[in-house]
């Protein structure tokens, strides 16, 4: 997944994981990796709506599908690193933890440990859940056949 042209790929990756993570698990991992670092809140967690857009079949013309509730938050670490987060739903705590982690992950000294201790386990959990869901669905798969109806 390493993309030479886009240096943000790594950050995009962890922001995505943090946004989709299960809150209780994230909270647990966060508490286990707390640092004494103080964060200044640049933008308090605030909840709003974003318009979701879709394309029919993934390729058609874009249309507005509906609105989703999103909470965003921005913080600044003592060393001046700015962390942002956008999280679906109204969980302000989730947004704050994700923003703080984004700031800490940009610090090269902490990045590796945090990736190992927080991002990787979250990612694994998400993959496992996805896989489990996939297997459950696959087990009940039904094939439908349409008989030729003979009208041309």
């Amino acid at each position: 997944m390493i993309h030479e042209k886009n240096p943000n790929v790594l950050r995009q990756g962890w922001i995505s994981v943090l946004a989709k993570a299960d809150y209780s698990r994230l909270h647990e991992l966060w508490c286990g990796n707390e640092s004494a670092e103080e964060f200044q809140v640049l933008r308090k967690p605030e909840t709003g709506l974003v318009m979701l857009r879709g394309r029919m079949g993934g390729t058609g013309a874009p249309f507005n599908m509906g609105e989703a509730t999103v909470t965003r938050c921005s913080v600044r670490s003592e060393t001046g690193l700015v962390g942002h987060s956008y999280v679906m739903g109204r969980n302000h705590d989730h947004a704050v933890i994700a923003a703080k982690l984004d700031a800490r992950l940009q610090d090269e000294g902490q990045c590796e440990t945090l990736m190992q201790d927080i991002i990787k386990p979250l990612e694994k959990q998400m993959m496992d859940e996805k896989q489990e869901h996939r297997e459950k669905v696959a087990a009940t798969k039904v094939d439908f056949f349409t008989m030729v109806r003979g009208e041309d």
Partner: protein, 198 residues
């Protein structure tokens, strides 16, 4: 990431309401020195007063024009992040123009004064000054002033007051001006008449 972003309001609904009320009072009573009700962090370049004006009044529909001193990343990043406001280089598109110091008349004349149908479509000027004092050498009259309001300002040159007279003469068109320091704000709406500058 070279400069860390400064923070905006801690409690936006409450703080922006207090600030808005102050600006309204300043506009209603031209020439009165209104202390800033809220103190926020300010980015390098903007003083406390202009930061407060921008946080309270600027939004995505109000393009901001910045003079050369202020057109730096610390300021533009701050305004984009906290106000969602577009920064414009075009004078004719500007809803707000922010000056780091007293601008000259030629510069001020580049901005739109509004039209007879929409006199509100003029640019509002935010000018950073060094400070104010009561009982100064400037005397103002006009709507909102019972007799004469006197005040003094540090950092504004004599030709500016000639421009204010000229600005008043074209009422209902014209510009509204906010003079801002680190501690206070004074409004000079287009209705204000300069009686004397000693």
């Amino acid at each position: 990431m070279t400069t860390a972003l400064a923070s905006g309001f801690i409690d936006p609904p409450v703080e922006s309401s207090h600030a808005f009320r102050t600006f309204m009072n300043a506009m209603a009573q031209p020439g009165t020195i209104q202390p800033l009700p809220v103190r926020t962090e300010n980015p390098q370049g903007l003083n406390k007063g202009s930061t407060l004006v921008m946080l309270t009044l600027a939004d995505h529909e109000a393009p901001i024009w910045l003079d050369d001193t202020l057109n730096i990343t610390s300021v533009t990043d701050y305004l984009k992040f906290h106000c969602n406001a577009p920064i414009t280089a075009s004078e004719s598109a500007a809803m707000f123009a922010v000056f780091s110091s007293c601008p000259d008349r030629q510069t001020l004349e580049l901005f739109p004064v509004g039209t007879s149908e929409y006199p509100d479509a003029s640019t509002t000027f935010v000018i950073q000054v060094d400070g104010f004092h009561e009982e100064g050498d400037i005397a103002l009259s006009g709507p909102g002033i019972k007799t004469v309001n006197r005040f003094g300002v540090i950092g504004i040159s004599q030709p500016f007051w000639d421009w204010v007279k000229h600005n008043n003469a074209r009422f209902p068109l014209g510009h509204d001006v906010l003079l801002v320091s680190d501690d206070a704000i004074v409004a000079l709406p287009r209705t204000v008449r300069v009686m004397e500058v000693a």
